[in-house]
Amino acid sequence: MESLITAAARALEAGDPLGALNRVALRNDAPSLALRGIAMAQLGDLAKAKTLLRSAARAFGPREAVARARCVVAEAEIALVLRDLSWPARMLAGARATLASHGDLANAAHAGHIEARHLLLLGRIDDAERALAEISVSPLPPASQVVRELVVAGIAIRRLKSRDARAALERAGKAARQANIPALVAEVDSANLILNTPAARLIARGSEHPLLLGEVERLATSTALVVDTFHHVVRKQGVAVSLGTRPVLFALARLLAQAWPADVSREALISVAFRAKHVDESHRARLRVEIGRLRTQLKPLADIRATKQGFELAPRKTRDVLVLARPVEEKHAAVLAILADGEPWSSSALALALGMSARTVQRALEELARSNKVQSFGQGRARRWMTPPVPGFPTGLLLPGPLLKA
């Protein structure tokens, strides 16, 4: 390899991006463009870094497939940090296959981790776990181990499994100290914070209190009938009735559970579950139909009895009914939950992650901005949204290991 490229690559590896830039700033050959891209990314100019890496990928010759694949991986990682979720996943998968087939296993694993984080951000937990399982673990460098464990913890947290999450974060912390990268240590710390922040609210017999992730987990073994608003299921120990595709039935179940052991009036059920302002006879008829359907669904767990006013829940073989709800149930809570990662998001990336229409997300953001719960910067397509920043938020940028070596 060339002399100045070697010198610049060594400077980059030693954590001296300015030294690297000094050596290749005026050169436009492919390796120089790639090194400049990585250096700019480390200096925080991600937009410039993206352009440079893309030019580098184009400039590498047909025989330089590995070098090109590393550029693609670096660009994908920058896209992830920029929350550009529409970035073509297909390209990353291709680059990963190229790296693996040429024996660059460390960078292939890095590509796999980016893929898993992307899926996690999109809420595709099972796919993220599958992507993670495909990565061969044995000789991972410490920095990659941190990323891996953070993804494992992320999956466990989304699944409300606190013990798994804690164990993964402990391993991540150990590896981060070994890698000696402050940004990674900070990222592990902020992930730890999530475990000590209320993850849910418990509503029972008309009163409510916050729950940590571990307490949520323990509920799984309780003998109470639980109406779980995270997963839209009604469950008791091993038995679960999923109402994910039946929002009206779930809303009725939740209202009945929240009021238990009292009953709920027909008017209240109609106005909340059907979002009706004025209750008329047709609503009453519909309520009878829906309650009938819910009764069929809940048969293994509870009965629904008619009362003079309306209906009441009658759980089988238990003396407790609980509702597990999100910590904040304000309007647009889902948007806020995603922005809670402290990163700048485009409205289109939010829409992708939430599975909502861009217009709906846009309206939610504008409303939240009016109450100062979110802020935006940039204009047009470059506009990004974030919650007021937390100090020292990490970028999560690692970039492919030694890009160029001779």
């Binding site: 390899m1 002399s3 060594r10």
Partner: protein, 212 residues
């Protein structure tokens, strides 16, 4: 053109603390190789590093009988092999795009990697005396018995080839096994060619085919 598989006679390394080999030369006793911030002398009999000089060493290495020449950034350093002192510096012809280095017939020969060129330069002034065009990216250069050999490394392919110094035509080519890189090349004056291996951190001895 004769083409055959390279016969690897022996491998030296990997060496502790050495991430990559950037250039190789031979002083008659030791094989020297450049490893970024050091020049290391390996005893070819036992494969151990006998001596190391602290000097920037990013690409090609050469030896003129008394001095080591070493490319660092965009210049060529002249180093007293006995003391390790840098006694002179000339600009490199490729301005930092330089790769291989050889000494022969009173001149330095410098490979310019992506330009696919080999320059013959004046070792005192750095002036380019003539330029030979190659077909591939050039990593190492050496002269032996009037033969000009150079290493190539383009993407994931490497070979060692003998070219006509006047026309650049490839006369003979030794292919290395897939995934084996050549960074730095030096003849021992006999039938061995020492090859650097890039980030594999090794030095390999390849048999130079005999003339008949």
């Amino acid at each position: 053109m004769k083409r055959s598989a390279a016969e690897i006679v022996r491998e030296y390394g990997p060496f502790p603390g050495v991430e990559a080999v950037h250039g190789v030369t031979y002083d008659g006793t030791h094989v020297w190789f450049a490893s970024g911030d050091k020049l290391n002398a390996v005893d070819p009999a036992n494969g151990k590093i006998a001596r190391s000089l602290d000097v920037a060493a990013h690409a090609g290495t050469a030896f003129d009988g008394r001095h080591l020449f070493q490319i660092a950034e965009d210049r060529i350093q002249k180093i007293d092999a006995a003391t390790g002192a840098v006694v002179g510096t000339i600009p490199s012809p490729g301005g930092g795009g330089d790769s291989g280095l050889a000494w022969a017939e009173g001149s330095l020969w410098v490979g310019q990697y992506r330009e696919r060129k080999i320059h013959q330069i004046d070792p005192d002034s750095g002036k380019i005396l003539r330029t030979i065009e190659s077909k591939r990216f050039v990593t190492g250069v050496t002269w032996v018995d009037g033969e000009l050999w150079h290493g190539t490394w383009e993407g994931e392919d490497s070979d060692v080839r003998r070219i006509d110094p006047d026309t650049g035509k490839v006369l003979e080519q030794l292919d290395l096994p897939e995934g084996t890189m050549v960074s730095g090349l030096e003849s021992d004056g006999g039938d061995r060619l020492f090859c650097g291996s890039g980030s594999a951190g090794k030095v390999r001895a390849v048999r130079r085919p005999g003339r008949r």
